[in-house]
Every structure is written in structure tokens, then in C-alpha cells.
């Protein structure tokens, strides 16, 4: 049997990698994928706790997280298309209208 702490450690590592990707990548689509990676890491922790406590509530919560992630992906990609059309670039460094 795999101890729960193993799953939680893997979840922490994946979340950390998601943060690194979000900070260091320059492509706006890849930034978005890093966010999805972090959401997946959190889902893993939810399911691990749900199994560890023997209650299905964590899994129900994961389903809600997936729904919100899908909605977020739809709206976010719409914004990306709009940005790419207006700025002619996917580089986040070029999206600097609010920069002084």
C-alpha cells in the first residue's frame, strides 16, 4: 500500500514545478499550461486525502475543480486569442500596456 505522504510529496513537487514554469516561461499559452499543472497537483492532494480519510467528499471537490478548470480554460484561451490578435505576439513581455 502506498503511504498518503508519498502522494502529497508528489503533489508538492508538481505544484512547485508549475510555479517555476509560470515564473520562467515567456509564451502566454505555456503560462496557462503551468496553471493547469498546478490545478492537477492540487487535485492529486484532494484525492489522496479523500482516500486516506475514507470519505468521498474530496473526490466530489475534484470534480468541481475540473469543471472550474474547464471554464477557466475556455475564457482564458479566448483572452489569449484576443491578445494575440491585438499585439501580434504571444510573448508576455510584449503585453506591457499597463507598464510605466
Amino acid at each position: 500500500m502506498v503511504p498518503t505522504s508519498h502522494y502529497l510529496l508528489l503533489s508538492a513537487i508538481l505544484f512547485g514545478l508549475g510555479i517555476v514554469g509560470f515564473v520562467f516561461k515567456r509564451n502566454i499559452i505555456t503560462l496557462f499550461m503551468s496553471i493547469e499543472l498546478m490545478l492537477n497537483a492540487v487535485n492529486l492532494a484532494f484525492v489522496a486525502f479523500s482516500q486516506s480519510l475514507g470519505k468521498p467528499y474530496g473526490e466530489v471537490f475534484v470534480l468541481f475543480v475540473i469543471v472550474v478548470a474547464a471554464a477557466e480554460a475556455a475564457v482564458g484561451l479566448g483572452i489569449i486569442i484576443l491578445t494575440a490578435r491585438n499585439r501580434r505576439s504571444l510573448n508576455v513581455e510584449r503585453v506591457d500596456l499597463l507598464k510605466l
Partner: protein, 166 residues
């Protein structure tokens, strides 16, 4: 080493390698394919834990729908290789150590409290789809209905955002 532990380590390695590859790849389509590897590995881990319905949803919604959306947008915008712009010094010298420190902090907290965690349920304790759906349609029926509204708003928002102004 027992068989579940072995499967866990294989899938965990696959997930971490996919995540590292997501960061290192320069082309967004390669990053997207790496992310699909991570998601399939996570679905395997859910199966290992006995969360069969979540595993199926992970493959269908994440690996299928959301990633197809990503790949579609990458192709639609004809995304090219990421251009290398000079990093800010702060991100280079403080970003990686801080990310490592945060992961280490979480790991330390988990390691310290791992004795307090209850032992995992005995193997074969599947959370059946029936249990999940009973819960979803009784106790969580209001949040469930609200998510349908959320999806509707998201669809409308995406259409309004992405339509071409005439």
C-alpha cells in the same frame, strides 16, 4: 517493494519528467504534449488509489477536451518557438531558490505530520461511481447546478471575447 509502490514510483517519475519537460521545451506544442503525459500519469495514480470515476474524468475532460482546446489554439495562432528575452535578474536569482524553498517547506510539513495522517484505506476500497453520484445529486446538488451556470457564462464569455469585430 510491493507492486502498488512500484507502480506509484513509475507513474510519479513519469509525471515529474513530463512536468520538467513542460518547462524545458521551447515550442508550445511540445509543452502541451508533455502536459498530456502528466495528466495520463495522474489518471493512473487515481486508479491506483481507487478513485475510478475521477480517473475516467481526468482522461476525458483534461486529457481530451481541455488539451484539445490548447492544441487547437496553438495551431490557430500559429505559435512559434518561444523567443528568448533577457530575464530579470530578480527572477533568475530569487525565483528558483524561492520555488525550491516553498516545495521544501511543504515537503517538510508533510514529512513532520505524516505520522498524524490516518492509514490509507485497505486496497480494493473503491469509491464507487454510485456513491459519488448519490452525493453529487443530494448533498451537493446546489453547487452542481451552479457549475452548469458557470459553464454557460464561460461559453458566452469565450464567444464574445473571440468573435471578430465587424
Amino acid at each position: 517493494m510491493t507492486a502498488p509502490l512500484l507502480i506509484f514510483f513509475v507513474l510519479a517519475t513519469l509525471a515529474v519528467l513530463g512536468a520538467v519537460s513542460l518547462i524545458l521545451q521551447r515550442h508550445p506544442i511540445h509543452s502541451a504534449l508533455s502536459l498530456i503525459v502528466v495528466m495520463v500519469a495522474l489518471a493512473g495514480l487515481y486508479l491506483l488509489m481507487g478513485a475510478e470515476f475521477v480517473a475516467a474524468v481526468q482522461i476525458i475532460v483534461y486529457g481530451g477536451a481541455i488539451m484539445v482546446l490548447f492544441v487547437f489554439v496553438i495551431m490557430l495562432l500559429n505559435a512559434e518557438e518561444e523567443e528568448r528575452t533577457n530575464f530579470s535578474k530578480l527572477a533568475t536569482y530569487a525565483g528558483i531558490p524561492l520555488a525550491v524553498a516553498m516545495t521544501g517547506l511543504i515537503a517538510a510539513a508533510i514529512a513532520r505530520s505524516s505520522g498524524a495522517l490516518p492509514a490509507p484505506a485497505p486496497s480494493g476500497a473503491l469509491t464507487s461511481t454510485k456513491t459519488l453520484s448519490m452525493l453529487l445529486f443530494s448533498e451537493f446538488v446546489y453547487p452542481f447546478e451552479l457549475t452548469s451556470f458557470l459553464i454557460l457564462v464561460a461559453i458566452l464569455g469565450a464567444i464574445v471575447l473571440a468573435q471578430r469585430e465587424s
